[in-house]
Symmetry: C2
Subunit: 199 residues, 2 copies
DNA sequence: ATGAATCGCTACAGTGACTGCATCGAATGA
DNA sequence: TCATTCGATGCAGTCACTGTAGCGATTCAT
């Protein structure tokens, strides 16, 4: 399945080295005490190369989060014929929660992000921007799935409520020092809360 | 009431000149085609002075939005003894919607922001960050108002759902070219939608 | 009214994120 | 084997943003 050529494998290795270097440096010294040049140095590439892999300094901490959105979009696309709107939204949201647990919560990456974002406005901002982009995509997909029940604004409101509730509760849970499982439970409770409002 | 000294009045005039220069330049040429130096030039102050009034290039477009949050916080503080949680949240949210209409929607400022933010990630990000800060404050206030019914995470979920739904629907409405009144109606509908889920 | 303290503004020098461009050399494909 | 592709590099440049020192106009105390 993974038919990657040598060139592509090298590229991924560089990317991974950058991510690991960044996470390590950020953990040790905090976000704004680390320059992109230092990250590149630690990964043994040139500073210019960093920006071939990531658009901004913040992005290295948000690598691979797009995958989550794709999962949710798939969940919407693969709905059963008669499946109810709330059920589809819950299924899509739960996909994202499960993936978040797998990739970011259990490894402590989510906690690191939350900690750094709390003290770094630029990082916080970039993180939220990802959410909004994701929201817009989800809202569009949801509206296409239920064109007779939803217009664009209502779809945006539903998705906005869902993502807003889940992410705010996750952030609050992380900030009070909860462990991965507690955070996930908080997210699921928020999801259920919003799901009720749709029915 | 307005006992402002000469010095303070001059300061406000400078601030206002910066805001107006920025809005005009952004309208004419788009966000990233305008430098802070040019804004300062147009307002006839030094570039350094710009940063005495605004923390970032984006902030000049978000001036005075904190007032809205304060209104909502007041609304929570001034609740009646027996007032229900959903009613308080709706009242607080409506305060923000009304103020948004008064200050930003009717003047077209909100539309400008939405247009610029659509093409400028940094601006979009900063805007969202404001929302999150506001959310956190509101959630804390709400939890203090109903300490027996809400814990921190649930309060965050409620406020997150409300702010998420209202702002997402407003943005979508703005993006499809709706006028001020339509945008406000979209926000109110989203608010009502979320309010139902609490009861 | 006068001297002192405050404070908004300015100039200057610097840091660091990010970009465009020309180039090199290793991988790839014919 | 030769040509093409493409990830990585160096370099020069732009621009957001900051620290610092100083100027001059308001404000305040006497």
């Amino acid at each position: 399945m993974e038919k990657l050529g040598l060139r592509e494998r090298k590229k991924q290795r560089t990317r991974q080295a950058l991510i690991e270097a960044a996470v390590r440096l950020f953990q040790d010294r905090g976000y704004d005490q680390v320059t992109v040049a230092e990250i590149a140095d630690a990964a043994e590439v040139s500073p210019r190369t960093y920006f071939l892999h990531f658009q901004t300094k913040e992005d290295v901490l948000l690598a691979d989060t797009d995958v989550r959105v794709d999962l949710a979009l798939e969940a919407i696309a693969e709905r059963d014929a008669g499946e109810r709107l709330p059920d589809v939204l819950v299924r899509a949201t739960d996909q994202m929660i499960v993936n978040a647990w797998d990739r970011d919560l259990s490894s402590g990456l989510a906690a690191l992000r939350a900690r750094l974002a709390a003290s770094e406005p630029a990082l916080q901002a970039r993180l939220l921007q990802r959410y909004l982009t994701a929201q817009a995509e989800l809202a569009r997909a949801l509206q296409r799935a239920y064109p007779d029940r939803l217009d664009a604004v209502l779809a945006a409101a539903l998705v906005g409520a869902m993502v807003g509730a889940v992410s705010a509760s996750a952030l609050t849970s992380l900030q009070r020092g909860d462990g991965p499982d507690e955070v996930r439970n908080a997210m699921r409770q928020a999801m259920a809360l919003v799901a009720r409002s749709i029915a």
